[in-house]
């Protein structure tokens, strides 16, 4: 495994998230704080779900492989549910903080809108999730070894990187859609987000049959991107205006 693999995989996995961070979040201190707090909430959910899994594992028979695999699957599902619970908890916290900020400011508006907070919170979840999935693998890729020496897939690093990128961006879009659903009291939206998260995680159980996990994840990613775009006020006119303004290079206003 070479340095090229390391850099390639890290750029694939973290490139979009890093770019989003640099261009949209790094300038605004409040967004950075919301991002890190989002990462912290994801971490808390992971902690609790690993606690549950650990207890279940210790209480069960160590030698039974099928049972252990089943427990792991249970752990994954439980972790997904807990992540969504913590996403909701973070929504509540941000709402309260935003209300506080708005109440204190002059024109009763908050500096940062709920959609922006949703995006930043989702990205925080995504970055932490991706980092926890990928960092150890990246560190191993710098060292010596042969991928798939016992007959497993050769593409372990590459598929991990692509999956990590998909999961990071998915968390971002889920955050946007989830918060929007909570804001407008559309509970079916929340149910769909939870179901999609369970689906994406469940598809990874098909690994190393990567055809079963990666393409569907990317299809879901694209559809979530479109859904998130339309849910936070985007429209075809916006895209059109954005593109034409860009081409014209005139000083015309671009609708946000």
């Amino acid at each position: 495994m070479t340095v090229a693999v390391f850099f390639g995989c890290s750029f694939i996995a973290f490139g979009p998230a890093f770019a989003l961070f640099i261009f949209t979040i790094a300038r605004d201190p409040l967004r950075v704080i919301i991002l890190i707090a989002g990462a912290f909430f994801w971490l808390l959910s992971l902690l609790l779900s690993s606690l549950v899994w650990f207890i279940a594992m210790k209480a069960s028979n160590d030698k039974d492989q099928q049972l252990q695999r089943g427990l792991l699957i249970f752990g994954v599902m439980f972790s997904v549910l807990l992540q969504e619970v913590f996403r909701f908890a973070y929504y509540k916290l941000l709402r309260k903080a935003s209300d506080g900020l708005a109440a204190l400011s002059e024109d009763e508006r908050s500096h940062i809108s709920v959609q922006q907070m949703a995006y930043v919170a989702g990205l925080g979840f995504g970055i932490m999730s991706g980092a926890f999935s990928m960092i150890n693998i990246l560190a191993d890729s710098l060292g010596p070894g042969i991928v798939g020496i016992h007959g497993e897939s050769q593409y372990f690093f590459l598929t991990s990187a692509f999956m990590t990128m998909a999961v990071t961006l998915l968390h971002t879009f889920w955050g946007v859609v989830f918060f929007d659903g909570c804001e407008n009291r559309r509970w079916w939206v929340i149910a769909v987000v939870v179901a999609l998260h369970l689906l994406v995680s469940g598809l990874t159980f098909l690994n190393p049959i990567y055809e079963g996990s990666l393409p569907p994840a990317y299809v879901i990613l694209v559809s979530m991107a479109v859904w998130a775009f339309f849910s936070c006020g985007g429209s075809l006119q916006n895209i059109q205006q954005f593109l034409t303004c860009w081409k014209n290079d005139a000083g015309s206003e671009v609708a946000s």
């Binding site: 704080i33 971490l43 690993s50 002059e106 980092a131 926890f132």
Partner: protein, 450 residues
Amino acid sequence: MNTSGSEEEFCNERTSLMTTESPPVSSYHVETGISSLEDTQTKGRRPITNESNNREADHEGESVERDSTADSEDEEMSLKYGAKHVIMLFVPVTLCMIVVIATIKSVSFYTEKGGQLIYTPFTEDTTSVGQRLLNSVLNTLIMISVIVVMTIFLVVLYKYRCYKFIHGWLILSSLMLLFWFSFMYLGEVFKTYNVAMDYPTLALVIWNFGAVGMVCIHWKGPLQLQQAYLIMISALMALVFIKYLPEWSAWVILGAISVYDLIAVLCPKGPLRMLVETAQERNEPIFPALIYSSAMIWMVGMTEHSAVQQPSHQETNSDEEVGQSHHDNTEDNRNMVVPETEVHGAQSRTTSAVELEEERGIKLGLGDFIFYSVLVGKASATASGDWNTTLACFVAILIGLCLTLLLLAIFKKALPALPISITFGLVFYFSTDNLVRPFMDNLAAHQFYI
């Protein structure tokens, strides 16, 4: 190798908790809608007395007679400043931790067993778990008592105005850090990367590094260079601790020192609180070289200040110390987070001619940097979960710092910066290492994603 006593001295003075003597006025006053600091700045350059009047009004909780729009404007600004200050501390803390983690991961010297400090005489190579635990608790007791003694000594020295002694002590310790420890560090880095180096070049590099560092930290220098040097010496100190503290002792010491921090800063008779109050009575800033200051405003007006204030130079004049670079804080502000208020007030008095940004800085003691980095460095050195544990501790410490700053905004007085962060860090270290690591390892092995 047993280190000498003087090394421990300065690390003690850095680890003892002290508040800056800046009066307990915070830059953020969320509830009552008064921000005296913003007031000072928006309404022009008022003298310090007016500011203290405003502060007293603050403390009594009354509203100043201003219209509500100005109130809410100031609150808005104060909250904006609040987030900015959190980031102004996030960045140096992150940089320090990155330096420590990068060194730990690459230079094996700092993870090798090389003996113990004389302050932790009990060994941890014992046969039974109980014995090891006992030894680590004893080590902790000795270390904490040394720190307490040093802090009380420093407070006594300060109370009896032995400034020369304190300055000499600080200069000696920074000399040691900047020259000897950085020489050792550089040597180990060269060994790791197999770089050939000759002594004359090395002497030149170390001399330049150390001399510029001494000037920057104890006298004048560009703000960012001084901040960089403070980060570097905190990282060096943290690396020394990581190398020479045995494993269990390190964790127990981290826990004990956050408790000590809490007591020393918040209890009425705590040494650090007494130090702060004494300094506030005398209206003096804190010692240089012990606090990281993030003020951005001084860079603009600093040259003006030094020109203006040199003629009126007095030893204990806070203005003069304001005029010099920011580490002219005469107090050990180690593990304290304090808003820079009085210094600001003094500065605004003399910078009427200069158009300054309305920025307010925040101060964090170097001991906080050191202990945060020790926690994260130990996590990355000893955890078998490797990077996940390190990342978890990193996020936990940042969130703890954020909460501490939030409390600072609410309570508006000097607060200990260690307890919340270290508690979160310890909780996350042990839980990630023991619970999350097996879970994530299993998931990664099967390539399951959560």
